[in-house]
Symmetry: C2
Subunit: 399 residues, 2 copies
């Protein structure tokens, strides 16, 4: 019984109406505010300010993409996307006091369940027939903020597990305020693992903006570099803390194809190998852990995706902590790594971000990622179908 | 007339004796100090503290690797390295007031010229005979610090150009204190370009350490991630400032295979394409500029080097600023990109950093980088020889 060819978007965001209303009531970032359109003083526009002092006063925001379900479905239809695994967009609940974060998390998880369960049926995902699946599934929110009660967080994991259309959680990098390598989070990882939920690890803070200097570069540096750097640091800290050793069935999917982790994984292994503080602590070579993770395929180029795939594919040869670079002397053997690695990569769009500057039928951020998947050297039809949808059906337990 | 097969190390550092004496006289980082060896109170060891609050009180340092020329040559002999293009190690002159930086730069450049010119002859690098080359060449220092006089900096460029064994400069990322995208540096780029010198762009500061959290991870996070992040930010800021457009013959070589630049170059292109502040400013797509740069081959894995090579090789197809991901649907065509890209990659060791934890004949940091070069899928003998030495002979103008 094989699965149908489906296009499943695992990286697509929403600000649910309850959340947007929260942002609209705020006087400091994150917030939504109205201002006259530059040059058109009589026309008002809504702006979303995620961080204070963003260039251009934040970005335009409207119901058409940010919180209207019919518009999300229209976007999916226009781009041939069958199923979306929707998650709240950053900054999630990070800015709220613990009690408010806890109550809002539970409400937003119920809202997201309703958002998904009321979406259209798609029919059976398997060619042999079987129960229908929906067009929308979701990743819930945990009240992971400073001063959060661990038992509250564990209860929300139970809540999410009980909601049939939520398949995991989206998570930032701050945890209880001390990062994801905080030992206090171990019960959280255990509970997520036990419930088979996927953690979608997503950046928000980037790195401190002092590193970008004073020239006006819009959002380019924090988005193009800061976001992937933050993800890379967070997952590396998790690896160094032994979380992947302790929770071998924990499913973590990294935003933006893991940021810089694949490109720096051999350097990381070498630095660990040469550092007495860390060298003896891990069960495996740093490169090994890439085969334990999942990666969205949001990297905008076929060479990038091919490389991520190779870095995943080689992981099993780095079981030994002090393993050296293995010899892969032919394109054919690298092609085999790429086939192996493709099983852990999943199509995504990052919608509703990267809106086109000019009116267009299809968003380049979507078409470029799709074109990249179709152009990876070493991927055949089977790998392309897996990355486009088959992997998501399996990893998010939709079949 | 072809060149001999030579192994040329383009990423290898030295603290010259004059510089080490400077560090030894200091009471705050960067400095060299003596302390009893832990557990052996009667034995003193020298420690190098590059940044305040480094874990483990810095790292062991001694004449055997840091400033003794015969030991550098012994290291080269042991690893089969024919020629080293030696550069001062970070933090260079960054911590000095402008007048001291200026005088010390000039003295250290003379010292380095003497260090190299007094090294053994290697014979002719060309198989057809011709003048002999030396075992050691060098990259000089510019007094690029806050408050530096631009005319002093330009004079030191002239000095370096007049010293026959200095072939370029090593440069950190701070420039005159405002980063390398500072418009005031344009005369510096112009003068470096006019003199045909290579800029070796090398990190020192990483990113602010607040992002690493509180767990003890030794030097791993700042070295494995912070260093390449800093390089990536610096070169991206240079690209966004149009420096590569304005100085088309400027030769910049990036440390650590460009850090995360290749892996994030398509994301960078997409972010630029979607940002009105930057979209119309550049002459080319972000991916294009990788074909204008040089990359050391210090990435510790064959898949990493192969990918960097592909990212360089594809650059010419991204001439147009708004170009989309190109289709490279076969391993053969990716192999062609890799052949193209290999012409801009150069073997390096990062010596004397990454010393082995245990006594060993050969340093793993060297053997692993060399094994990686030899195992890149798609590179044949010609590409391997070029990356190992032929490219360096050409780019540093040694033939």
């Amino acid at each position: 019984m094989s699965t149908r060819k489906l296009l499943v978007d695992v990286h697509t965001h929403v600000y649910l109406p309850r959340y947007a209303a929260y942002l609209r009531a705020r006087a400091v970032a994150p917030r939504i505010f109205s201002r006259p359109v530059p040059g058109e003083p009589d026309v008002e526009e809504d702006r979303l300010l995620i961080l204070e002092n963003e260039p251009s006063g934040g970005r335009p925001v409207g119901p058409q993409v940010y919180w209207d379900k019919s518009q999300k479905l229209a976007f999916m239809n226009r781009h041939g996307i069958d199923v979306s695994v929707v998650s709240s967009a950053n900054p999630w609940l990070d800015f709220l006091p613990a009690s408010e974060a806890n109550s809002l998390a539970k409400e937003l998880n119920e809202d997201l369940e309703e958002f998904c369960s009321s979406s259209p049926d798609l029919g059976s995902p398997t060619s042999g027939g079987g129960p229908s699946i929906k067009r929308l599934y979701g990743l819930g929110l945990l009240p992971l903020v400073s001063e959060a009660s661990l038992s509250d967080v564990l209860k929300v994991i139970t809540q999410i597990s009980s909601l049939p259309h939520l398949k995991g959680v989206i998570m930032g990098t701050q945890g209880l305020g001390r990062g994801l390598d905080d030992e206090e989070l171990e019960p959280v990882w255990g509970e997520i693992e036990r419930n088979g939920l996927v953690v979608f690890l997503h950046p928000h803070y980037g790195v401190p903006s002092s590193v970008y200097g004073g020239r006006a570069n819009g959002h380019v540096l924090p988005l193009a570099l800061g976001f992937p750097f933050e993800t890379t640091i967070a997952i590396t800290r998790l690896i160094l803390a032994g979380v992947l050793d302790k929770f071998p069935s924990l499913k973590i999917m990294l935003a933006h194809s893991g940021g810089a982790l694949p490109a720096l994984s051999s350097r990381l292994a070498s630095c660990i190998d040469h550092d007495p503080v860390v060298a003896s602590r891990l069960k495996h070579n740093a490169r090994y852990y890439l085969g334990r993770l999942y990666f969205d395929a949001v990297a905008y180029g076929p060479e990038e995706l091919g490389f991520v795939s190779s870095a995943i594919g080689r992981s099993s040869t780095y079981d030994d902590p002090s393993a050296s670079a293995s010899a892969i002397p032919s394109l054919e053997s690298e092609g085999k790594l790429r086939v192996l690695g493709s099983s852990r990569m999943l199509f995504g769009t990052d919608h509703p971000f990267f809106p086109p500057l000019k009116a267009t039928d299809k968003w380049k951020s979507v078409t470029e990622n799709l074109a990249a998947i179709n152009a990876v050297a070493g991927w055949g039809d089977e790998e392309i179908e897996a990355v486009c949808g088959g992997n998501a059906l399996r990893i998010f337990d939709l079949v």
